[in-house]
């Protein structure tokens, strides 16, 4: 028969759990989700089946989050910045030079004292964070070699639309241009913008490396992707199931972050073949210029102060 009721309470019926992401099949996050699926079905395969929807077929950013809130989706991987509309806590990640470096970022994200505050921040909206995935380090890239903050002066830099991003760029005496990600390649080519700021993947996946030959490791922002679940769905799990899921969350993060590191290494190799030069810079003068920006943003969003202090405590 073709019965496939939702409840799945009937004997012999598997409960179908749906997970969505905008990433394609070969992305590290999907590989992490596959590991999650394998583990959960290995343990609870008699009653649970996991369906992973890739490529954003279920819906774009806020759309998928709302479907999750309404219970049409059980779980979702989305970028932390999409969650800013639901909880101010997520704005912490856009503070420039919040983390010393990526290792420090991962160390902080592994501390419950910090990360539980993030996970729980959206719980009253029906969205519960369960784990996180590395999303890379934002550096500047341009057809101009950027070695010191002076090199950024007067450049037109593309950012995603947010207060923190615009202020960060203005802090370098550069002009912020808000543009869609898909238009960055031609904008760089036509000199509508002089620089972009993204992890290394953009050089290869979006071919930005063809039009921006210098990638400078300024490491000014480190963002995270989030694995979130519908709160009611999580509450419906039995203790035994919850235990399995908790292990599976951890596993998915390990797998995805490992794969992410591989992808970055590959992206750097491929970009080098495209002729991109990776520039190591002295981060200190950059960081120095962003201190007033960071203070201003903290003053404008006082609710971030506690989280900020915790981050400092953990990484120092």
């Amino acid at each position: 028969g073709c019965s496939s009721s939702v409840s799945g309470e009937e004997i012999g019926e598997k409960r179908i759990i749906s997970i969505a992401t905008v990433q394609p099949e070969n992305h590290s996050i999907v590989l992490g989700l596959n590991a999650f699926k394998e583990y959960v079905e290995g343990e609870l395969g008699d009653r649970i089946e996991i369906k992973i929807f890739t490529n954003g077929v279920i819906g774009g950013n806020s759309e998928a989050l709302e479907l999750l809130q309404m219970g049409s989706l059980d779980m979702l991987v989305t970028s932390g910045s999409n969650l800013e509309a639901f909880a101010d806590e997520y704005k912490i990640f856009s503070l420039p030079y919040l983390f010393k470096d990526e290792a420090s970022f991962r160390k902080v994200m592994d501390e419950e004292e910090f990360v539980d505050k993030i996970y729980d921040s959206t719980a009253d909206k029906g969205i519960q964070g369960v784990t996180w995935f590395a999303n890379g380090v934002n550096n500047f890239y341009s057809s101009k070699k950027i070695e010191t903050p002076e090199d950024l002066k007067g450049l037109k830099v593309r950012v995603q639309s947010s207060e923190a991003n615009v202020k960060m760029v203005q802090g370098f005496d550069a002009a912020a241009v808000v543009l869609a990600y898909g238009e960055v390649y031609t904008a760089l080519q036509n000199k509508v913008i002089d620089a972009g700021t993204n992890p290394e993947m953009a050089l290869v996946n979006m071919k930005h490396g063809e039009v921006a030959k210098y990638y400078s490791r300024t490491e000014h922002q480190i963002f995270t992707d989030m694995f979130v679940a519908n709160t009611k769905f999580l509450d419906s799990l039995t203790d035994e199931e919850e235990e399995v899921f908790r292990n599976a969350f951890k596993l998915s993060t390990e797998v995805a972050n490992g794969e992410w590191d591989n992808l970055i290494t590959e992206a750097i190799q491929e970009a080098t073949l495209m002729g991109v030069e990776f520039v190591t810079v002295d981060k200190e003068p950059f960081e120095e210029l962003q201190k007033p920006v960071k203070e201003e943003l903290l003053k404008g969003n006082p609710e971030l102060q506690t989280l900020y202090d915790i981050v400092q405590k953990i990484q120092n």
């Binding site: 496939s4 939702v6 954003g56 279920i58 759309e63 898909g182 238009e183 031609t186």
Partner: protein, 435 residues
């Protein structure tokens, strides 16, 4: 039966029955979607999620270009721009036998392009051109046929709301790339019809207007340049990265408004209110369909229909050439009874994965799909442009049809070129750096 198969059958049967009963297409899509998703999600989650999908389907920045281009087109239609473009077309084609027919084709390409509406083009040209051709002894059924056959070119030559719609449902193909990609196929469509017209008018011995003087040529060209400048603003602005497609559309509105109120002085400010209301209504008709299709797209993904369809279609043959031919025949069939916009919205999610698996780019597929469905606007039983053209020429369908068949043949040849040679749709975009 798998979830995908039962959902697909349910959707198919519901759509066929409700469409035949004359239920609005948008409502038909929503009913079919809710019936299909309730099976796997339950009614209580399906209902609010459908509401969300309706809203978020429209809440997309790129789509804003559609009301703006419609508004700009409506301002143009009132603004005496058609006549200037006809004059230019006459000047360009004056020395070819059957020049009036060629004038009609070129004027359709120019006016259809700037106004963005095939029905506006077919009506404007039919009203102005048909009497002149009749006076010169042209067969009236032939005249109506060539006007109808070439009016859809403006839907491919940018700006084009059909291509914006495709950009959206295909998951973010660049609008700029699609606009550039539509230019060559649109021009080829027009040229292929000119070839047919050339041989027909030569056989019939239609020799008409005397070529105009060089001085006159310059005057006519100068007069038409401000109208054509719109294409340059839109394409140049987007490709040059000065503004997004949406912003270029808003500029098109401002530009046409200034042109027709201050420069040509053909539009009175009072008329603007009616134009605004009409444009809002037409855009609402399209947006309601887009919202409804967003519900159906979600239901199809959730139940796994596109993957299943891909397997079925790819299973037809091992030969990509045959699969593509089958897809084209399917689309031509769809185009005979479904309008351009709903057909793009419904068939992109189903056929795009298949064509990607065949190694096509989203750009190439989008142009092929739109080209194919544009043919549907001039085929019976449902064809906006066909019936507008018949009506404005005051002819009978069965008399015009034999002439149209010849043009269908020529257009089909171009369709095959566009399908099997990606170059036609990718060459101009690649010059601007899009791949």
């Amino acid at each position: 039966m798998s979830v995908a198969l039962s959902a697909a059958l349910l959707i198919l049967v519901t759509i066929v029955v409700l469409l035949l009963l004359g239920i609005p297409i948008g409502i038909t899509l929503i009913v079919a979607s809710i019936l299909a998703i309730t099976q796997s999600l339950g009614f209580s989650a399906a209902v609010p999620s459908s509401a969300l999908k309706m809203f978020q389907g429209i809440n997309i920045f790129t789509l804003l270009a559609i009301p703006f281009f419609i508004l700009a087109g409506n301002i143009m239609n009132k603004g005496g721009i058609a006549l200037r473009l006809i004059n230019l077309a006459t000047a360009m084609t004056g020395r070819i036998p059957g020049s009036l027919a060629h004038t009609n084709v070129v004027a359709n390409m120019l006016f259809g392009s700037v106004s963005g509406s095939g029905t506006a083009a077919v009506s404007a040209m039919g009203t102005i051109m048909s009497p002149i051709q009749k006076e010169k002894g042209y067969d009236e059924d032939f005249t109506a046929a060539i006007n109808i056959a070439t009016a859809p070119t403006g839907l491919l030559i940018p700006p084009s709301t059909a291509l914006i719609t495709y950009a959206l449902v295909s998951g973010g193909t660049s609008v700029a790339a699609l606009f550039l990609g539509g230019i060559l196929p649109g021009i080829l469509w027009g040229l292929s019809c000119m070839v047919v017209a050339y041989f027909y008018t030569k056989k019939k011995g239609y020799i008409d207007t005397k070529p105009i003087s060089f001085k006159e040529f310059i005057r006519v060209t100068l007069d038409a340049i401000p109208s054509l400048f719109l294409i340059i603003i839109v394409i140049g602005g987007i490709v040059g990265g000065i503004f997004t497609a949406t912003e270029s559309a808003a500029f098109a509105v401002v530009y046409t408004l200034l042109l027709s109120t201050i420069f040509y002085k053909t539009l009175k400010i009072k008329e603007l209110y009616t134009i605004l209301v009409d444009s809002a209504k037409l855009s609402a008709i399209i947006m309601f369909l887009i919202g409804a299709s967003n519900i159906m797209g979600w239901v199809m993904s959730f139940t796994g229909i596109p993957n299943m369809m891909a397997d079925v279609i790819l299973g037809i043959s091992d030969n990509p050439i045959i699969i593509l031919l089958a897809i084209n025949l399917l689309l031509l069939f769809v185009g005979t009874f479904l309008d351009l916009t709903p057909a793009i919205l419904i068939f992109t999610p189903i056929l795009l994965p298949v064509c990607l698996a065949l190694g096509m780019t989203p750009l190439h597929f989008g142009i092929m799909l739109t080209f194919n469905l544009c043919i549907g606007t001039i085929t019976p039983p449902v064809g906006n442009i066909l019936f507008a053209g018949i009506k404005v020429a005051d002819r009978k369908l069965e008399k015009v049809m034999p002439h149209l068949l010849r043009f269908y043949g020529a257009i089909f040849v171009v369709l095959m070129l566009v399908t099997y040679f990606p170059w036609f749709s990718s060459f101009l975009p690649s010059l601007a750096g899009y791949r």
